[in-house]
């Protein structure tokens, strides 16, 4: 018999350690090649200058000074859990917002939501929902990161620069040295539509070839993508300019898309920050669908940061619906408008807010007069003192976990990197639930 295939993932961490192949939840790419040096519970990123990675691993250090707080005063964990349960027990309609956590935290969140009849919304929903609407209304052709890395001969980026949100995108996915199908990645055609003031330097190939950049105000994207779709469908347009862009430029782009063997159209939904951006995602889906009549083209909707894809995945399998759902009637309901944090708080429909944010200390709860329970990152500096604050472990730092990557396909294991006295989100939420059942 062979040895077991699965060595344990970093069981006990020695005092000073170099830890290789760490998964980084700093953004939705979940790069899993990060080397972390750990010295007396302080973590340093060793092998990349990715600002998201550094911000994620190097922000948490002063664990000794972190306590649960009730009305701003330090409290025992058990008291804070009791207090949170008491607030929830008296709530008519709790709202659980934020939802920045891993799979295990999200499972526990759904269980608490069911027990309390709560409504659920993720902090990134305004962006994520643009893509979810497109899936629900038209569907799409998409692919995953390794397909892009090996297959894309043309990459069209819509909206932003990608690297601001996903710093290692080009390094990991586009300018790889080798690809699987005899293609030289350095010859990839890179094009941007968006900005207009974005830094496209990362799109310059290792050979020095600059990308094609069609500057376009974000709010003009619906017009421009609409025109591009028409041109790809060989329609005549009664103008030679669209939103200040010469039609000939768009025609040239349409021709390049049609002649590419495997083009990829990438966007971060967060960059498409204008009303009804879901219709632009829908247009992109139609554009991609049309190109697939004759050649191959895939969309690459980039997301997954702060666990937004993770929350949607877990919610979909446990409740049957993606996020912006509610257990208020005892069974899951889905309403992407009514169940938003903003709507719930502004209309007073929700009378208690539970804010969950375990990944990024800077993602604060929204301003509200509703009593608030914050369960989150130990480094959170809360401006408005909530009724209860319970600091919990950071997934992938203080405890193991699982998160979904941007492409919704790959789920990666997160490691425990240091000893921590912080409870996990699951422990806290299960504790609140147990308290409520008493």
């Amino acid at each position: 018999m062979v040895n077991p295939v699965h060595p344990p993932l970093q069981a006990d961490v020695p005092e000073i350690a170099l830890i290789p192949t760490v998964t980084c939840p700093g953004c939705g790419l979940l790069c899993d090649d990060v080397v972390i040096a750990r010295n007396d519970n302080k973590l340093t990123v060793r092998n990349t200058d990715c600002p998201k990675s550094i911000a994620f691993f190097e922000q948490a250090s002063a664990l000794d000074e972190v306590f649960p707080r009730i009305e701003g005063q330090p409290a025992e964990l058990a008291s804070a859990i009791r207090k949170a349960a008491e607030i929830l027990r008296h709530a008519q309609q709790p709202l659980i917002g934020g939802l920045a956590t891993d799979v295990h935290g999200m499972r526990a969140t759904l269980e608490l939501a069911e027990a309390t009849g709560a409504t659920l919304d993720h902090m990134n929903s305004p962006a994520v929902i643009r893509n979810v609407f497109a899936v629900q209304n038209s569907g799409w052709h998409t692919c995953t990161l390794t397909e892009v890395r090996n297959r894309a001969d043309l990459v069209l980026i819509i909206g932003g620069d990608i690297t601001g949100r996903f710093p290692r995108f080009f390094e990991r996915i586009i300018w790889n040295r080798e690809s699987m199908f005899d293609q030289d990645p350095a010859s990839r055609d890179i094009l941007y539509i968006g900005g207009p003031d974005i830094d496209t330097a990362a799109g310059t190939s290792p050979k020095g070839i600059k990308p094609t950049f069609i500057p376009c105000a974000i709010q003009k994207l619906p017009e421009v993508i609409g025109a591009l779709l028409a041109l790809v469908k060989s329609k005549q347009l009664p103008s030679d300019m669209v939103a200040g862009i010469p039609l000939a430029d768009l025609q040239h782009l349409a021709t390049r898309l049609a002649s590419a063997k495997y083009s990829v159209i990438a966007w971060a939904a967060a960059d498409l920050d204008f009303p009804h951006a879901e219709l632009t995602v829908h247009q992109l889906a139609e554009l991609i669908g049309h190109l697939n009549h004759t050649t191959r083209c895939s969309g690459l909707p980039l997301g997954g940061s702060e666990g937004d894809i993770t929350a949607n995945q877990v919610s979909s399998w446990i409740s049957g619906f993606p996020i912006r759902n509610s257990y208020k009637r005892g069974y899951p309901e889905y309403d992407p408008y009514r169940f938003s944090v903003d709507h719930q708080l502004n209309t007073g429909e929700a009378d208690v807010l539970v804010w969950i944010s375990t990944l990024d200390s800077k993602r604060m709860p929204p301003q509200t007069t509703a009593p608030t329970i914050v369960i989150g990152h130990p480094e959170m500096q809360l401006v408005n003192v909530p009724k209860v604050f319970i600091p919990v472990g950071i997934p992938g730092v203080d405890h193991t976990g699982i998160m979904f990557r941007s492409d919704s396909v790959v789920a990666l294991p997160l490691r425990k990197l240091r000893e921590s006295s912080l409870p996990t989100l699951k422990q806290v939420l299960d504790g609140i639930r147990a308290e409520l059942e008493k």
């Binding site: 062979v2 569907g139 297959r151 009637r329």
Partner: protein, 558 residues
């Protein structure tokens, strides 16, 4: 604790028991010998007049993983109509075409099913599949890892690696994904689609690798056999849904060259091109070939009329089918140089010629196939219909007049193209027990499931005899899972968590050297992170990995 099930009429085909009145004793979750007379019985159930079978096993049901969850996400309109509220024993969820994981487990159990196997687990998506199955209560589960369009295997074939190396890779995949079997979907076709090929027949080359589906079937079926994996290679053939694909399917049976092969949802692969509309039933030819080829087994993938959604790894076919979607939407994905998927909602209509004939073709295959040990009852959930339609399907098989009535309501042109109402066969309870219990367990290599012999796990379903078989199979009186009463009168009374069945054949770990290089060069994840550990499955106390026996690796082949 000793439980006695007294005087039930037992159908246990694994022991050739066909409707015999017997007592069954359960201790510690297992069926045990009749105890000595002085041993006290803790609990007795009077089952006189009741029908007793092992818990049913669905050997092909899409219950977890990426494509299933995409279907959930894209169909809120379908789920809204079937909410499942929080109750004394059950958590909330929703049902119909693709139920939430919790509701999936409850509803299977309420139908007397105690196991379900996810047949299209993409290796790179295995972690998600297991996460979803871990949140599926009561039933046991397992997954078939999908190979055949993954670039690592195709590169091995192009490089003419020997069978032993392929066997090592197949075994490594089973370990890494915690799978119980291997599936191939549109062999080579998912990869070919990524190179812009739209059809791929059995002897056609993948445009990049110059490897044919026949080559892939040959090495994979042989690998499964040589590794001693009980479950034959699970094959979703080329040309799904294409009129005339009956020829491909018949050739595929031959491509196995005698190695065991399971042709899944064969209904979708049994279409001829006769008639005015160039679409006809190939069921007779398929059934005849199945009767002849003893190395081939199949499940039907019966369609039922109504709204559902098709979730498949076959992105090539699903891209083709997207135009038939209802409601009009489809998701098609190319995935990680590993596989693909396509999710297309469908509404099958009895007045639609093609749908009506598909329905008849499925039933013809069921009724013309002679050996229920090699034929399995599936709707390819949810692709042909949601699994909750099984009791209706059982009645169609067991009740000719019921079937004829349904046939009489079909599109008339479809009726004219089918021989269904001339078939008099009615399945017996014994045959149903073979298809849904004993045969499925035997096929999968689940030695202690699917039967009621001494030592078997006490997964037991008790029905009230009823000539309305749909009613009978919809609401069992009792369902025991590992000896615990989980369902009474068709409703959950206790929630337990089943096991995940796997196989772990021996192999040469030297293959990891090549794999590591491949991952490091081309992939976006580390090879170690690709692997799903048994601990991940048992994490949280809701799961447990059971390793089923492989009969040991046969001698290395020259």
């Amino acid at each position: 604790m000793l439980i006695k099930l007294s005087g039930g009429t037992v159908y246990d085909p694994a022991h050739s028991i066909d409707g015999k009145v017997m007592d069954i004793y359960i201790r510690n979750g297992r069926i045990v010998e009749r105890p000595s007379d002085d041993e006290p019985i803790s609990l007795e159930y009077d089952l006189s007049g009741k029908v007793v079978m092992a818990g049913a096993i669905d050997m092909h049901t899409h219950i977890g993983g990426g494509k299933v969850n995409i279907a959930r996400m894209m169909l809120p309109e379908d789920h809204r109509s079937d909410p499942e509220a929080h109750s004394e024993f059950c958590r909330a969820g929703c049902g119909h075409a693709v139920p939430s994981t919790l509701t999936t487990g409850y509803r299977y159990a309420e139908m007397g099913y105690t196991a379900g196997f996810e047949p299209a687990m993409l290796p790179v998506n295995a972690r998600q599949t297991h996460l979803e199955m871990a949140d599926t209560p009561i039933i046991d589960k397992g997954g078939y890892a999908m190979l055949g369009s993954d670039d690592f295997l195709l590169r091995m074939l192009t490089a003419k690696k020997d069978q032993n190396a392929i066997n090592d890779y197949v075994a490594w995949t089973l370990h890494a994904t915690q799978a119980i079997g291997i599936k191939v979907v549109n062999p080579g076709g998912i990869s070919a689609f990524k190179f812009n090929q739209r059809f791929l027949d059995l002897d056609e080359n993948n445009p990049y690798y110059h490897v044919t589906p026949r080559d892939i079937l040959k090495v994979l079926s042989r690998a499964v056999y040589e590794l001693g994996i009980p479950k034959p290679l699970h094959v979703h053939g080329n040309n799904l849904g294409v009129p005339g694909n009956v020829e491909t399917t018949l050739k595929t049976m031959g491509a196995a060259e005698g190695y065991p092969l399971h042709l899944t949802h064969i209904q979708f692969h049994s279409y001829g091109t006769e008639g005015d509309r160039k679409f006809s039933s190939g069921a007779a030819a398929i059934a005849e070939a199945l009767n002849k080829h003893k190395n081939i087994s199949a499940d039907v993938g019966q369609i039922m009329f109504g709204q559902t959604v098709t979730c498949s790894g076959d992105n090539m076919s699903q891209h083709r089918n997207a135009g038939h979607s209802h409601p009009r939407k489809a998701v098609v994905m190319d995935i990680e140089c590993d596989a693909g998927c396509g999710v297309v909602p469908f509404k099958y209509k009895d007045q639609n010629f093609v749908n009506a004939l598909q329905w008849a073709i499925g039933l013809e295959i069921f009724l013309l196939s002679e050996d229920p040990w090699r034929m399995f009852l599936t709707t390819d959930h949810p692709n042909g219909a949601p699994f909750t339609s099984y009791p209706h399907l059982i009645r169609l098989l067991m009740d000719k007049s019921f079937r004829d009535d349904a046939f009489g309501r079909l599109n008339l042109d479809a009726q004219a193209m089918s021989t269904l109402n001339s078939i008099t066969r009615e399945y017996s309870l014994y045959e149903i027990a073979i298809m849904t219990r004993a045969g499925a367990a035997k096929l999968l290599g689940l030695h202690d499931r699917g039967h009621l012999g001494i030592g078997a796990a006490a997964d037991i379903t008790v029905y009230t005899e009823n000539t309305d078989r749909e009613k009978m199979f919809s609401t069992p009186d009792y369902v025991f899972k590992d000896g615990e009463l989980v369902v009474r009168n068709g409703k959950i009374v206790k929630v337990t968590w089943g096991s995940t069945h796997t196989v772990k054949p021996e192999f040469d770990r030297g293959i990891e050297k090549d794999l590591k290089k491949y991952f490091d060069t081309y992939h976006t994840m580390n090879m170690e992170h690709f692997k799903v550990s048994a601990d991940e499955i048992s994490d949280g106390g809701q799961g447990r990995v059971v390793v089923q026996e492989c009969k040991g690796r046969r001698e290395k082949t020259a």
